[in-house]
């Protein structure tokens, strides 16, 4: 988020003249539209907005947003973003990455940009597959994923992007999925957060990992398997008939039934976006026994990296004149006469 003068745009203003090159039916389209819908709502200025991405289907995103865009190399978008933001903190930087780009080759940069708390929005499109390279399993693929590189099924234990982000020190964590109504709301919250805002977006790769998220995104499964979190509200799902509570014995979360809306006596936790311990538990809840936690899971800002760096730079410059001649002549000198 930036202290910028907001300007008025429409969705159309954010469309480029480039043909969109995703497979028909790809979840990326919905995400693109959500972003193009959200940008006017937050008063973003195309001239001050930069989309930075790595490589992958998802990373084609910048070509389709009428702003500044940098489609870089595989996995390194956070590093480019860091250079951009430290050079011009006025720019509103959106980082677009995929589960391969951001969690496989780029895992280290994802960690460090989060740790340093660069003020930017990090949108990780998690389709649990390598789309662009034609369907190999990714670090987020579930065990048993059959793919060209794992014809007998993958054996690696999948990474949890939100858990990884928290482990890296994230101060903002949110989750949504491509066609979810609330994606725009999540994006706005991320943008409003000062610092690195990490958003995992489940995205349907209809070609290589079709409907992988149906168990909670399909209409029939939504109510019973989506836990939308709202700060200050109890953690209820299934139309308020179930909730999440803490098991006092095991000190772990559990699903409880809520009778007649009396969530208090069921011990349902009230969502506090600043509670880091609960955030850890929420992002690690095993799906199946538990619903999928969605929305803003954690939001507790700290000073941003560019504030600190540029603040220190400013301090170092205070009262100093940039006299190159003097700089060159620093240290012990002597004069040779004519």
């Amino acid at each position: 988020m930036n202290e910028m003068t907001t300007i008025t745009t429409t969705l159309k203003d954010w469309e480029t003249d480039q043909e969109v090159r995703w497979c028909p039916g790809c979840g990326d389209y919905a995400i693109l539209k959500a972003v193009q819908r959200t940008l006017p709502e937050i008063g973003a200025d195309p001239a001050n907005t930069v989309f930075v991405s790595g490589i992958g289907c998802s990373s084609r995103f910048p070509y389709y947003v009428e702003s500044y865009g940098f489609h870089t190399i595989h996995g390194r978008a956070p590093a480019f973003a860091t250079g951009i933001k430290l050079s011009n903190p006025e720019l509103d930087v959106w980082l677009i990455t995929g589960d391969g780009d951001g969690m496989s080759i780029g895992g280290n940069h994802t960690m460090h940009v989060i740790r340093r708390n660069l003020n930017c929005q990090i949108m990780l499109f998690n389709n649990e597959i390598y789309g662009l390279t034609k369907g190999q399993y990714s670090p987020t693929s579930r065990v048993g994923t059959s793919s060209p590189s794992t014809p007998m099924g993958s054996v690696d234990r999948p990474a949890l992007p939100c858990a990884f982000a928290l482990g890296s020190g994230a101060r903002f964590i949110a989750r949504a999925y491509d066609v979810s109504k609330d994606l725009s709301g999540v994006l706005k919250a991320a943008h409003a957060h000062k610092g690195a805002a990490f958003i995992e977006i489940f995205q349907n790769c209809i070609v290589y990992n079709k409907d992988r998220f149906d168990d909670f995104t399909a209409k029939a499964n939504a109510a019973g398997n989506q836990l939308w979190l709202t700060n200050g509200e109890p953690m209820l799902f299934n139309k308020g008939t179930q909730g999440i509570a803490l098991d006092q014995e095991s000190l772990t979360l559990k699903v409880v039934d809520v009778i007649d809306g009396d969530w208090q006596s069921a011990g349902v936790i009230v969502h506090d976006v600043t509670n880091r311990s609960v955030a850890h538990m929420l992002v690690e809840m095993p799906f199946g026994p538990f619903p999928m936690a969605l929305g803003v899971i954690y939001d507790d800002p700290r000073p941003t990296y560019e504030e600190s760096v540029l603040g220190q730079d400013a301090k170092a410059r205070e009262g100093k004149v940039a006299d190159l001649g003097k700089l060159l002549a620093k240290g012990q000198t002597w004069t040779v006469g004519e």
């Binding site: 870089t72 250079g83 060159l328 002549a329 240290g331 000198t333 004069t335």
Partner: protein
Amino acid sequence: MASSVAAADTAPITHTDAPEAVVVRFAGDSGDGMQLTGGQFTLSTALAGNDLATFPDFPAEIRAPQGTLFGVSAFQINFGSTDISTAGDAPDVLVAMNPAALKTNVEALKPGGLIIADTGEFTKRNLEKAKYDSNPIEDGSLSKWDLLAFDISALTIEAVKPFGLGNKEALRCKNMWTLGLALWMFDRDRQPIVDWLNSKFAKKPEIAEANIAALNAGHAYGETAEIAGPLRKLHLDPVQQTPGLYRTITGAEAVSLGLVAGAQLAGLQMFFGGYPITPASAILHNLTKMKEFGVTTFQAEDEIAAICSAIGASYAGHLGVTSSSGPGIALKGEAMGLAVMTELPLVIVNSQRGGPSTGLPTKTEQSDLYQAIYGRNGDTPLPVIAARSPSDAFECAIEACRIAVQFMTPVMLLTDGYIGNAAEPWKVPDPNDYDPFPAKFLTEKNGPDDTLLPYKRDGHGVRPWIKPGTPGLMHRIGGIEKAIDTGNLDYAPTTHQAQTDARKAKVDGVANAVPLQDVSLGNTSGKLAVVGWGSTFGPIHQAVRRARAKGMDVSHIHVRHVWPLPRNLGDLLRSYKKILVPEMNTGQFKTVLRDQFLVDAQPLNKVSGQPFAIAEIEAAIAAFFDNIPDNEGGEVEPNRSQLPSVKAENQ
């Protein structure tokens, strides 16, 4: 190398009794403060008006166990009343603070040279650690040198007694005692060192005083000359120097200052993304102290992030700079390709060290030239500039910034461990003497019908630089091949061919924007050209000077712009009968010359982690003339221009 090389050439080599130059090597345990001693002696030398060059040589270990062979740290200085451009071949004087220092350094000493040794450290245990079976000071094994062995440790403890230091702290003053002696030997003023000690230990005055006492004691020791024999006072006249303000400078300092100057001349803020690695870290350390010049430094998580952040900064309108040495540069290759493809300015500094792999991190080498010129996937040309000496690194850094900004291209600047750490006197330049090259940013659409053409090239094939944040100029760039002018994704065969050609033509065209190749020493044609690049300048220069003095028709050409090569270089090289290319690698620049000009460049390679000795190149030149059937090059005479040892002078 303060005076101009041309002048040096014309100056006759005088065979008087006073030495033109002297080489002193201080060697001790890493903990003995030899680099500090060397540094202060260097300063004193500079203040005395001698020309000089230094070569610090320290172990890879942070603090190797005391007394071990691999824990020896050495500092060599060559100084004199004439033009000096190397740290010298064999030392005339070796100061050995312990047995390990003696063992690892004495073989380098000139026959008849002087050893000063601290007997206090020649204990049984230290002798064992140095793998000496018997005490060399006593067993006569040093007889081909002059030996001056006495208990510096005890003398130091004695000298600093008044200040109530513990034994360990007292012994820390040994290096100042030794320095005091050295100052006496070469007739130097102690005051600057005293001032320096007082300011360094401002908060611990007793330490300052103890060190000063040791310094004075060492000096007095020479003065009172308790020992007869080899110890003689020697005065070297100041060298003829262009009048002006001088300081000493190391290559790492010079690169840092040159980058700052370059950014200033371009009117840009500088963003430096780095990751620590020996011997490149010093540039990061230096720049982070220059924030007032619009410098932001960023210690990234690795070299890849370092270069990517720098490219991001260039994209955002700053001058992006990154720096590393071999292994780190290897990691940056992929990102360099993106910078070539997106045509953004970027300076990449490689402070080369011994390779392959981790190799010899603290040693010097020139073995990353292949990597610099050829080491990327795809047809990915970029200009490469090589600095020849510490002070030259300043000019080269400015040149790298200029080319990067004017041609919207990444530029590689090569230095090495030797240049980075070595010091030489430097006539402080006046920033106003440099032509500014202000960066231009596009502020309005540049195409017909109110269109933006981010890849529209100018007459030099250069695309515009467009800063995000500029209203109305929104556009997208990336690493995929792009259409002419618009820069939109385009895989068409004709496009790829055209853009490949355009990128190549642009970089080739840099040759039109750099000076023609000159001849450093000698004639523009002749029997033999010795062609070098980078830090071999000094030894080649001296070797050619000596050979010419003996009448050999040999010239020295030193190439700064190693890619693209100066446009007259081919013709120039073809005007010599033979070409010799000394390099601290297995023959990399030789490949470039043979490829580009089809000239029979012959390699002279040294890959030992040590700079060339003048004599090594001299021998190669001599061998060349020996091999000419009718000896057209002239007889190779006994090498009278070789510097006489101190002893010879004194006897």
